[in-house]
């Protein structure tokens, strides 16, 4: 299995050995449609290749179904549909990012492609104001790295809406 496993050490580095002056956060950069989105690495427990998703009847369309990750059944959602983008097209680059929030509950999100890991200083992140439009609901800010702009996903608010359904 070609799995990009995020090391636990990395997460710990982030919290323990961060420089005193500069707050840095690591993000996994993913491609969704024409844009790049960053997901805070601390929520990510695993990134897997596209696998067979079992459809669940009578759920909102952005819930793609459930997958088996090492013996655990994990629901999987489409970030594209969630953010009002066109339906996913599964390619060789399609990945499922397994996010684990508190209480060890996991959820998978479908993305077009996983690009890289970037480390952003707090000063390179522009926090979003309170006025967010439909697409910006799930963003916590915009980061600048190597001249590119990366929209930073607010994972908790993405998932909060899933739970509410």
């Amino acid at each position: 299995m070609d799995e990009v496993k995020v090391m636990d050490d990395q997460k710990r580095d982030f919290s323990l050995n961060r420089p005193v002056k500069r707050e840095t956060t690591q993000f996994i950069v993913t491609q969704l449609g024409g844009e790049q989105y960053g997901i805070d690495i601390k929520y990510i427990s695993n990134i897997i290749r596209m696998s067979k998703i079992t459809r669940v009847p009578k759920v909102p369309n952005y819930i793609k179904g459930v997958i088996n990750v090492r013996g655990v059944v994990i629901p999987t959602i489409s970030l594209r549909l969630k953010m009002g983008l066109p339906e996913d097209e599964v390619t060789k680059k399609t990945r499922i990012i397994i996010l684990t929030l508190e209480q060890h509950e996991s959820i998978g999100v479908l993305v077009d492609e996983v690009k890289e890991v970037v480390t952003l200083d707090e000063e390179h992140i522009e926090r979003m104001g309170y006025e967010k439009d439909e697409k910006e609901r799930f963003l916590s800010g915009v980061g600048k790295a190597d001249g590119k702009l990366i929209s930073l996903l607010d994972i908790t608010s993405v998932l909060a809406e899933v739970v509410d359904v």
């Binding site: 067979k52 009578k58 759920v59 459930v66 088996n68 059944v73």
Partner: protein, 725 residues
């Protein structure tokens, strides 16, 4: 002595003894003359007392001791069991249970002395079994009683806190002959009580050395506990014996104390003061001078702990308890004891064997694959090993499941007592008949099932059974019967609560429902009897004319139903008006793994629990009829509605046109006495599936009860047919 490590065992065993006592006292109420029962009660009370003493629970010990005294007198035939006595005994049991519960919550027994119960018990003793109202124990009386007792009892507590326990040794005729013979030969007979140090590890070895030392000086007639028990280390810190010797008491004492780790030895000449009735006269002596003499004589364990240098929880517990009572009530803490399952060693052995087999199977598989690589194409032995592995894992699964299984006895055992109390409270005569107490269920289910069952029994007792005079007028036996039957039925356990009372008055329920506005009169007219009865399970619906503290508050049956359903079970009611009703609870054996039928619908796979499937039918398309715009089929005389699963599950049609004329595969499932036919495309076969939760992030529809992982790693959903019907 640190007793905290024994707390679990103490609680477990106390509960067992209490239950046993309760059962036996019930039995005693029926057969007051049964000596076996009385002996059993005596033994249980005695063990309980000993355990409480060892653990340093003083109040509990005192109360048990007084109960034991009463049983002891009954056993000796001094007086007979009387109804009033049974009531007091039951109250004492309740008090003991409260102690045990307190201990479980806080490790302390609480501060309730239950003096009234102790007084009541003592007054039974004093009045030779008569239960006197008030039941006080004036000091003058007890003094008189004490003086009538042999002189040895007061002697036993003159100053030393560690009573000379040898006085409790009962002498039988042979031993008495030996003693008499010794006296006639000019030898002296001594009573000896030896205390071993608390820190002593090999108590039995020390005891052996003591015996050895004594044998040089004379002859041991009898010991308590018995020599065998002492050898097996079945004694606490002390043992006593009667000993014939020509030496003086001091010499004997010296000999005993020369053995190391012996803390104290008491030796005195055995006065043949109690020749006639060896056991009996001691008892009043112990109990009558109630507060002082009793702890000294009968409570050696905690008393022994007191002077010892080691900080023992026994004395420590007392100030703590006192402090608790002084400084308001203690905050409710979570129970100090973990939930455990006591496992039959045989089950564990079985498990161990299977695990070793599994390892063997794994190893053979490794070598088989290696062999297969050598001569390609021959997979025979690999397949053989896989089959082996399969059978081992199946057995392993069953064994693990069994470890989690406990008999429902632990829950239902308290019911006879409850019915007895209810019978008194409600003024109705009734009997509870139970069967299948050894039926096993998953521990988690057993823990939860108690309250619903209790509720249903109370319902039967209160609403079900008519008053005795009405029963007689209706030509029924005066005494009402309630039945609790448990048995296994396939992958389910069925628990049935039945009574021969009046049954459910459907019209009364109907009227009540209309009155309450639950249904309109028109709706009520159209409802079947079964639908009316189902109304009883709605919240706050009670037909009891008056609210009693037994039932009738209308908070019951809906709770029963939701509890049972949360355990994946179901409740069914069978009612015969005038003849009684029966409430049938059906519970799955286990919640984690089920036998399922795998089916294909469209191009998706689903699992259907085998337990709900009745038959599978091959149906011609033209056999499907329309009734009120719903599709039904006729099978062996019954009309069964069919459900097109692809529609319900929103599965895209396979699109092959020839399907239209093909036979349909219909799975007939049942829920209670309702049936439905599920149309599926293909059957894969029966399979054991592990039920997995789908996580909290998606809210799955009710008809999906979970998911499972197939052999190829794909996820298949499990259909809950109950939600479909």
């Amino acid at each position: 002595m640190d007793t905290s490590q024994y707390l679990d065992i103490f609680l477990d065993e106390s509960k067992e003894h209490l239950q046993n006592l309760s059962d036996q006292i019930m039995e005693l109420e029926q057969n007051p003359e049964n000596m076996d029962t009385i002996n059993e009660i005596f033994r249980a009370a005695h063990s309980l007392k000993g355990m409480a003493g060892t653990m340093g629970y003083k109040r509990m010990q005192t109360l048990t001791h007084d109960m034991e005294n009463v049983f002891s007198e009954v056993r000796n035939g001094t007086f007979k069991v009387q109804p009033g006595m049974i009531d007091i005994l039951f109250k004492s049991l309740d008090a003991l249970e409260e102690y045990v519960n307190n201990i479980q919550q806080t490790t302390e027994e609480g501060t309730n002395d239950n003096q009234d119960l102790i007084d009541a018990l003592n007054s039974i003793l004093k009045n030779n079994g008569e239960v006197v109202a008030g039941g006080g124990a004036p000091a003058a009386d007890s003094g008189a009683a004490a003086s009538s007792a042999p002189a040895e009892a007061p002697a036993s507590n003159d100053g030393n806190v560690k009573g000379e326990k040898w006085q409790e040794i009962k002498i039988n005729d042979t031993e008495r002959m030996l003693i008499d013979k010794a006296h006639s030969e000019g030898l002296k007979v001594y009573g000896l009580t030896v205390y071993v140090e608390e820190a002593c590890v090999l108590k039995a070895a020390r005891a052996f050395l003591v015996f050895k030392a004594l044998e040089k000086l004379g002859e041991i007639i009898v010991s308590a506990p018995t020599a065998q028990d002492i050898e097996d280390e079945k004694f606490e810190l002390t043992f006593s014996l009667i000993f014939i010797s020509g030496n003086t008491a001091d010499e004997i004492k010296e000999a005993v104390k020369s053995v190391s780790e012996i803390e104290e030895a008491f030796c005195a000449e055995y006065t043949a003061a109690a020749p006639a009735k060896p056991a009996e006269p001691e008892k009043p002596a112990e109990t009558k001078p109630a507060e002082e003499a009793k702890p000294a004589v009968t409570a050696p364990a905690p008393k022994a702990a007191a002077p010892a240098a080691t900080p023992a929880p026994a004395p420590a517990a007392k100030p703590a308890a006192a402090a608790a009572s002084a400084s308001s009530t203690k905050p409710a803490a979570k129970p100090v004891v973990n939930r455990t399952v006591r496992v039959d060693i045989e089950k564990l052995d079985n498990l161990m064997n299977l695990v070793s087999e599994l390892i063997i199977a794994k190893n053979s598989l490794i070598s088989a694959t290696a062999a297969a690589e050598d001569n390609k194409g021959d997979n025979g032995s690999v397949n053989e090993q896989i089959e082996y592995l399969e059978s081992v894992t199946t057995n392993l699964h069953e064994s693990v499941m069994k470890v989690r299984m406990v008999p429902i006895e632990s829950v239902v055992a308290k019911f006879p007592r409850m019915i007895r109390d209810l019978s008194k409270k409600l003024g109705k005569k009734m009997e509870l008949y139970m069967s299948g107490e050894d039926t096993e269920l998953d521990r988690t289910v057993v823990d939860e099932i108690g309250d619903p069952l209790m509720h249903m029994l109370r319902n039967s007792a209160d609403h079900g059974l008519e008053p005795n005079d009405v029963r007689v007028a209706n030509g029924k036996p005066e005494v009402g019967s309630i039945f609790l039957d448990a048995y296994q039925d396939g992958n389910n356990v069925v628990i049935e609560v039945r009574d021969d009372g009046g049954g459910i008055n459907v019209d009364a329920v109907r009227n009540k429902a209309i009155e309450r506005g639950t249904v309109t009169p028109e709706q009520a007219e159209a409802m079947t009897e079964k639908e009316i009865i189902d109304l009883l399970f709605l919240p706050s619906f009670s037909t009891a004319k008056k609210v009693s503290d037994v039932s009738g508050r209308g908070v019951g049956l809906d709770v029963v139903k939701s509890k049972i359903e949360s355990l994946s079970g179901e409740v069914e009611v069978k009612n015969r008006f005038g003849e009684g009703s029966s409430w049938i609870i059906r519970l799955p054996l286990t919640l984690a793994i089920i036998q399922a039928l795998m089916v294909v619908i469209g191009d998706e796979k689903y699992a259907i629990a085998l337990g709900s499937i009745q038959t599978i039918e091959d149906v011609l398309p033209e056999d499907i009829k329309l009734v009120q715009a719903k599709e039904v089929i006729h099978i062996r005389g019954t009309v069964i509605p069919i459900i097109r699963m692809d529609k319900v599950l929103e599965i895209p049609s396979r699109g092959d046109e020839d399907n239209k004329n093909k036979n349909l595969t219909v799975i007939i499932v049942k829920k209670g006495d309702k049936q439905a036919g599920l149309v599926v495309d293909e059957l894969i076969g029966q399979q054991e599936v592990v039920i997995k939760s789908m996580g909290k992030y998606i809210k799955v529809p009710k008809m999906i009860s979970g998911a499972t992982i197939l052999g190829n790693g794909e996820v298949a959903l499990i259909l809950d047919t109950n939600a479909l019907i």
